[in-house]
Symmetry: C2
Subunit: 221 residues, 2 copies
């Protein structure tokens, strides 16, 4: 019996100019050498304590990024998705504020809008679509979008992040009430926006104990 | 580099006497020969079109059951979960009305309450807990419990199924309104309960187009 090929792939998502984008890298080996694809690689039984560690290792080595949020998406499998043979890919999705990607500064990382046609190898298009659907669905009832809003944000900025993910305007009063109910933010002492025509706005951040841990919203945003 | 062991496991859940139970089988080979465990097995690259087919094959061969609902739960992995080596298990959970298990009539299938202590090999206890948490959480806002209610049920029976999963009594009026909103049931022509002290109650079933497909409830049950 032929062995099963065991890999991980990562869908790294960020918001840039209110558009949801996925990080792609040119593959450095066959199959599909030179083609833009999701960052991925083989599981290393000697190095990885579990598939999540394989995903974090691949992301660190190929993009220099340590994502503030990473979650297992699903496992994709079959005889035809990889030309090398019957394969399993345990896929994770990661959420990263755009400035974290910029600071990592990897020249090779390309950010492509998930809402435009994307010609990707393997079943990576299906994988990206699955991740985006999961993120958009979870955004309706969780703190997930906060991981895309950056380390510090005003409440209007956070609302715009939710709106960009959900694709519709939200009522400001009910949005503020939900955010208060979730009890997941803290004001950053003495930190306000500057340089705008409006009066300075308080900057907030996720409470430290909530990093890498979702808060669920009862009954949706 | 040692190869990764690729398996599937299935958490088959049913309701019996209002208690959620998981199907266990004595293992017919080492490791843990003779010990009760989740039904599972290796992926067969020559037979399986994907991991879900491996899960269905394992369930069919070991229990004789074709579940009306099967969903990928998560993938569990690591060097220590299986004494044979670094392994990946793609886990599915299945929901089956109790009468389907009885009709399949496999003598070897044991049903154990998920709320009692269970001494299981591998990481099967963690896997069962993860499946139960997923089912209970999804029951709050989906048609998932219908797959446990049987092929035909009255509305009070369906409410008791939701209550058993959610662990709390539900308001009858708001439950009926939610069920109506979901638009997932159809009355079975001429089918009523008989032999009880009450007047006969209409029997319902899931609409045929909703078999094996979840209906989500906006804002929860």
């Amino acid at each position: 019996m032929q062995p099963v090929i065991c890999t991980v792939d990562v869908v790294l998502l960020t918001l840039q100019d209110d558009a949801l984008r996925v990080a792609l890298l040119k593959r450095d080996r066959e199959p599909f050498k030179g083609v833009l694809a999701l960052p991925g690689g083989f599981i290393h039984p000697d190095d990885d304590a579990q598939t999540q560690d394989a995903a974090l290792r691949v992301l660190r080595n190929k993009t220099g990024i340590e994502p503030p949020y990473l979650e297992q998406l699903a496992t994709f499998s079959g005889p035809a998705r990889d030309p090398r043979g019957w394969s399993v890919s345990v896929v994770y999705y990661a959420l990263v504020p755009h400035d974290v990607i910029e600071r990592a500064g990897h020249q090779e990382v390309r950010l492509a809008s998930v809402d435009k046609p994307l010609n990707l190898p393997f079943d990576h298009r299906t994988i990206v679509d699955t991740a985006v659907a999961r993120l958009r669905s979870k955004s309706q009832y969780s703190s997930l979008p906060c991981y895309l809003a950056g380390e510090a944000f005003t409440l209007p900025q956070l609302q715009r992040t939710y709106e960009a993910l959900m694709g519709e305007p939200l009522n400001k009063v009910s949005f503020r009430r939900k955010i208060t109910e979730m009890d997941m933010l803290e004001p950053i002492q003495g930190a306000f926006t500057a340089g705008s025509a409006h009066r300075p706005a308080q900057l907030y951040r996720l409470k430290p104990e909530l990093r890498d841990q979702l808060t669920l919203i009862e009954r949706g945003i």
